[in-house]
């Protein structure tokens, strides 16, 4: 009797753990199915090629013009700008924290990086609007400070903690023997860093950059607040743009259910989903490659 009770308990526990474990898988699949079902309907109104390639996004004109090329380019431009800032800075910071900084400073820096990642993006966006945007407008003499560049700067702040933390882990994971081997050959600290440590940490650093991209491309709030949200194809980084994420966030509340606009927003969601998925997959590949060696 006692024994069967214990068995039943164990069985129940096992099932419970199994359910928790598979829940995330189920949710991902459900979300994707839902996105797909709602989004695919847009292709009754426009072709896939038109949807991805047309230059105009006028969802509430009639007939609605549903080309998301400006939005894709907006997202890419903001992301590229953010990465151009965050990747070099983040990697350099990671090297400084992992290899150069004295022990006490290292602890301080690490907690600061963590705090940076804890700042809500709406707060960063708020700072962006009140400080950065007017500053850029005056400093660069632009017609408006609400530009892709402002978005890039804000997003760089958000991507840095991810990039720093993961790069630093990768740098610390380089076997001590690698470094000692180079140092014992008379290499200076700097030479060891450049030739040996970067080499060993490279896959992890790439993964860090990829995850930074993932963080940036999915970010919504701060971008929506500082990029101006004009759905036009940008010619320079100092013009207003509108990103995929901001479009969904701004318009979903107003799109009437069942309209082409509504379905198009879901399709934008699918595009975002696929981009994030591809980025995370690439990051994973690099992280695993790093582990195998």
């Amino acid at each position: 009797m006692k024994r069967s009770l214990r068995r039943a308990k164990e069985f129940a526990l096992e099932r419970l753990l199994f359910l928790s474990g598979t829940a995330s898988v189920v949710f991902v699949v459900l979300i994707f199915v839902f996105l797909l079902r709602e989004g695919a309907a847009v292709f009754g109104h426009v072709s896939l090629g038109h949807f991805l390639g047309a230059k105009f996004w006028y969802p509430i004109s009639s007939p609605a013009k549903l080309g998301i090329l400006p939005l894709i380019l907006g997202s890419l431009l903001v992301t590229a700008g953010a990465l151009a800032i965050a990747v070099p800075l983040g990697i350099a910071a990671a090297f400084y924290i992992a290899e150069v900084a004295p022990k006490r400073l290292r602890t301080v820096l690490k907690s600061c990086v963590e705090i940076l990642s804890a700042i809500p993006s709406v707060v960063l966006g708020f700072l962006g609007i009140t400080l950065l945007v007017p500053f850029l407008k005056n400093f660069l003499g632009l017609p408006t400070g609400l530009t892709a560049f402002s978005g890039s700067l804000m997003l760089a702040f958000m991507a840095m903690p991810t990039i720093i933390t993961i790069s630093e882990d990768a740098i610390n994971a380089v076997p001590r023997e690698y470094k000692e081997g180079a140092v014992a050959l008379g290499a200076t600290h700097w030479q060891t860093l450049v030739r040996v440590v970067i080499h060993g940490a490279f896959p992890g650093i790439i993964a860090a950059a990829m995850l930074g991209i993932g963080r940036v491309i999915g970010e919504t709030m701060a971008v929506m607040m500082v990029t101006g949200n004009a759905a036009v194809i940008p010619r320079t980084i100092f013009e207003p743009v509108r990103t995929l994420t901001a479009t969904i966030a701004a318009e979903m509340g107003e799109a009437a259910q069942g309209t082409p606009h509504y379905h198009a927003l879901f399709a934008v969601g699918i595009v975002l989903f696929l981009i994030s998925f591809a980025i995370n997959l690439t990051a994973d590949l690099f992280l695993n490659r790093g582990k195998k060696r």
Partner: protein, 253 residues
């Protein structure tokens, strides 16, 4: 070259890690052209001693070193930069870890860092170093391959070769054969004995038989003290100290 003058003079060397004392006031002269073998159980301070000689111990923020070490009358802690010191005093580790580069680049890494860029000279260094490390015949036709593809024994000889490429005066071996099979071990020992003609060698080993095979003098370390130092032949036949004898015959350690 026969054992001659003093190559390295160590006076009152102490190493502490936090509260742990790894070396307690060691004084020893290493002679030019000898193979000094150092034996002793773990935690006896052997490796700490070696790491002081090329200042690799500086990488350990916890380690505190006191005392004086002179290499050819030069104070290695004040007179020389650690990089210059390490080019003169090479080190071979227990774990042979080649740099993540090709076989050739592993050898040329050191010379290139110290400014050698002449291709012909570098190629000559590659051949000579690999020959001296008894590895040339096995790798001569695949110098461009990644060094990590070599076997463990080959990797260790590659590490010896890359150290030789800098033409050091002293080579420190830290249990260089602890992970190797008997045949690889024999090859490494052969290389060591051959090197003795031109270099001063200090070998830390857990293998007392190896110490007896290759050493000219042997030191026995225990708990951070040097218990005994003498010609290798004497040490293994008529040890002066009871503890040395106990260790050699395997009663502890």
């Amino acid at each position: 070259m026969t054992a001659g003058g003093v190559k390295i003079s160590v006076q009152d060397l102490s190493v502490t890690y936090g509260r742990v004392r790894a070396l307690k006031g060691l004084s020893i002269d290493v002679l030019d052209g000898e193979i000094l073998t150092i034996i002793g159980p773990s935690n006896s301070g052997k490796t700490s001693f070696l790491r002081c000689l090329n200042r690799l111990i500086d990488l350990d923020a916890q380690a505190k070193v006191r005392g004086r070490i002179r290499l050819d009358e030069e104070d290695i802690r004040n007179g020389l930069s650690s990089e210059d010191l390490r080019k003169r005093v090479g080190m071979i580790f227990a774990m042979p870890i080649p740099l993540p580069l090709s076989i050739r680049d592993n050898i040329t890494y050191g010379p290139r860092m110290s400014g050698q860029i002449d291709k012909a000279a570098l190629e000559r260094i590659v051949v000579e170093s690999l020959r001296a490390a008894y590895l040339w015949d096995e790798v001569r036709d695949r110098l461009g391959q990644p060094a990590q593809k070599l076997s463990g024994g080959q990797q260790q000889r590659l590490c010896i070769a890359r150290t030789l490429a800098l033409n050091p005066e002293v080579i420190l071996f830290d249990e260089p054969t602890s992970g190797l099979d008997p045949i690889s071990t024999a090859k490494v020992e052969e290389a060591m004995i051959e090197l003795r003609k031109a270099k001063t060698i200090i070998l830390v080993t857990n293998n007392t038989k190896q110490a007896a095979r290759v050493g000219s003098r042997t030191a026995f370390f225990l708990m951070g003290d040097m218990i005994e130092l003498g010609p290798t032949a004497d040490m293994f036949t008529v040890p002066r100290d009871r503890r040395t004898e106990d260790y050699i015959v395997g009663r502890f350690g």
